[in-house]
């Protein structure tokens, strides 16, 4: 495969975006998933549903509202302007922000499942051994949910790579800043440049396949590990 420099820029940008978003999502998603997995609060249902919304909503809905919200008169735009960073639409940080929202459930849900699978017992044991809330999270929750972190990271990364609708609506197609691979493929198709479209598209298909294969392989192993523990 031989990519044009525009294609390469888009690929590089996409990987950078996905890596950044994944890192942020793991940092934000882990405490959120921990809370969702452990709480008995009434808010668990509503907040869980909000986190899952991007699974259900068409990306255009999210993109549309983000475009309005990030605009100079929108709530997000008001905040970003008041702290002196201008508006977020058509910028890389804006894309990161949107992608974090968009890929949130893909990170939070595997983590939440992994945290729930730990059960109460190991945390009770840790408490009787003098571990407070933070220590229980860092020394029991996080290490025991390691396979979940891996799945979450891979899914978050892959989903961000595959993001299209939201980027299309708030990106503005700026090379090296907001023109990611999925948009580049779309442009090739729209411009009837099917050859270039094929190259990139095929690359994405192979990439996604490899990622999913990896995830399923690891999940099988971690299930086996859990099974051994319980037996």
């Amino acid at each position: 495969m031989k990519f044009s420099s525009d294609d390469l820029t888009a690929l590089y940008l996409t990987l950078e975006l996905a890596a950044t978003v994944t890192l942020i999502l793991l940092l934000l998603g882990a405490p959120l998933a921990w809370w969702l997995a452990r709480t008995q609060s009434w808010f668990k249902g509503p907040i869980g549903a909000v986190v899952a919304l991007p699974l259900v909503l068409p990306p255009t809905v999210l993109g549309f509202y983000l475009l309005l919200a990030m605009g100079p008169n929108g709530p997000i735009g008001q905040v970003t302007q008041s702290i002196g960073i201008g508006t977020l639409a058509f910028t890389y940080p804006g894309l990161v922000f949107a992608s974090v929202l968009y890929s949130l459930p893909f990170v939070v849900q595997p983590l939440q499942n992994a945290f729930e699978a730990i059960g109460d017992r190991p945390l009770e044991v840790a408490a009787t051994l003098g571990a407070g809330k933070l220590k229980r999270f860092f020394f029991v929750g996080v290490p025991m949910a390691k396979p979940g972190f891996f799945t979450a990271a891979v899914l978050g990364f892959a989903h961000t790579v595959g993001e299209f609708g939201v980027v299309l609506m708030i990106g503005g197609n700026i090379p090296g800043e907001t023109r990611v691979v999925s948009v580049q493929v779309y442009d090739h198709v729209e411009a009837l440049a099917y050859g270039q479209a094929h190259q990139l598209a095929l690359f994405l298909v192979l990439f996604s396949f490899a990622v999913l294969l990896l995830v399923y392989g690891i999940q099988r192993n971690s299930y086996r590990m859990l099974f051994r523990l319980n037996s």
Binding site: R121, P122, E124, A127, L129, A131, K135, V140, M225
Partner: protein, 366 residues
């Protein structure tokens, strides 16, 4: 029993819905000794585990007052969170951390303390639980018994004020139980640490306990020194076929020809099987009510070796309408005999008369 300040005193109340259906209420008022093993005995569903969890602070809904060796763990205004209570807890399943090896599991609780004292403590516990050769193994490479020993070591290493054990043997088969019991006994002998030991096995109670609490439907229906509770035939602690007493004795004579030893207790002696114990070794034996029969004279023409002179203290009903339980005093020691009503009538057994207790079997517990 020790002074009140040194005791474990718990007045706790906790009600919750079991499986979101049946209301269960724990309502207890206990004063437990500050050393030795206290067995909390009862059928499943009697609230034993719930009691233990309340002591550890694992049940958020528990109300009441809890004082452990002079330290307030809970009162009307204050509930100390679990991680601040100096408590060791051994769960039914070992519940080791699967991501840590044996060494790391044991050291988990040491994170909060540092220094040389720790190293000594760690070494001592590893030694005591016989874990030296497993230190680098992961939990899934250990047998059930080994895992439970790691769990005990992990709980001990933090030097708790009280060790709570929730049926630590229940998940193990007979061989594994035999393997782990000596470790519990050594713990009992070598440390002042009070242990609250939940079990539904009267065998474990008889073998390990000094003090006993009997639970039924969330309440403590009997509590006291082990022998007092066991010999109280009028109490609700009814053990059926397992009714019997435990006697502490000392090996004083060996008959190697017949492979027997003579064990002396407060008010007499018993011949028991020679298990190789040294002279002077304290042993604990158990005599079941169904293994004692009564005679008015001393029959030497019987296969029964242990025949002791006894006085009838009281006669009590048995749930089986054909049977009676007879409390017998061998000097200061009480034993219980189970005989049929018909025999009692024929022999004219009544309080105060002298009889011969023929003891068919004596189980050496340790």
């Amino acid at each position: 029993m020790n002074s009140a300040a040194n005791q474990i005193s718990a007045k706790l109340n906790y009600s919750f819905l079991e499986n979101n259906q049946r209301k269960f209420q724990l309502d207890i008022d206990l004063d437990l000794p500050s050393k030795g093993i206290t067995a909390v005995f009862g059928e499943s569903g009697s609230g034993k585990t719930t009691l233990l969890r309340c002591l550890a602070g694992l049940e958020k809904g528990a109300r009441g007052v809890l004082r452990v060796k002079g330290e307030v763990w809970q009162n009307e205004r204050f509930t100390m969170p679990t991680h601040l209570r100096k408590v060791g807890y051994v769960f039914q399943e070992a519940s080791l951390f699967p991501h840590l090896n044996v060494r790391e599991n044991i050291k988990f609780g040491l994170r909060r303390i540092t220094g040389d004292k720790n190293k000594t403590r760690y070494r001592q516990v590893v030694e005591q639980m016989g874990l030296k050769k497993f230190l680098d193994n992961h939990p899934n490479e250990l047998s059930g018994g080994e895992r439970q020993r790691v769990a005990i070591a992990r709980a001990l290493v933090v030097e708790p004020s009280v060790l709570l054990m929730d049926e630590p043997l229940v998940a193990l088969d007979a061989n594994r139980k035999r393997e782990i019991l000596p470790y519990l006994e050594s713990l009992h002998e070598t440390s002042e640490l009070p242990i609250i030991y939940v079990t539904h096995s009267i065998d474990e109670v008889a073998r390990l306990a000094d003090y006993m609490v009997v639970m039924r439907e969330g309440r403590a229906v009997g509590q006291g020194i082990l022998s007092d509770v066991l010999e109280d035939t009028s109490s609700p602690v009814f053990l059926g076929e397992d009714m019997g007493v435990v006697i502490e004795a000392k090996v004083v004579e060996r008959d190697s020809h017949w492979n027997l030893v003579r064990a002396e207790f407060d008010s007499g002696h018993l011949w028991v099987r020679d298990t190789g114990d040294k002279f002077g070794k304290k042993i604990r034996v158990r005599i079941l009510a169904r293994d004692i029969s009564l005679a008015l004279t001393n029959h030497s023409d019987t296969s029964i070796i242990n025949r002791l002179r006894a006085r009838v203290v009281s006669i009590n009903d048995h749930t089986d309408p054909a049977m009676l339980l007879v409390n017998l005093a061998l000097g200061n020691t009480i034993v219980i005999a189970r005989i049929s009503k018909r025999s009692a009538s024929q022999l004219k057994i009544e309080s105060g008369i002298e009889v011969w207790a023929q003891i068919k079997g004596v189980a050496i517990l340790r």
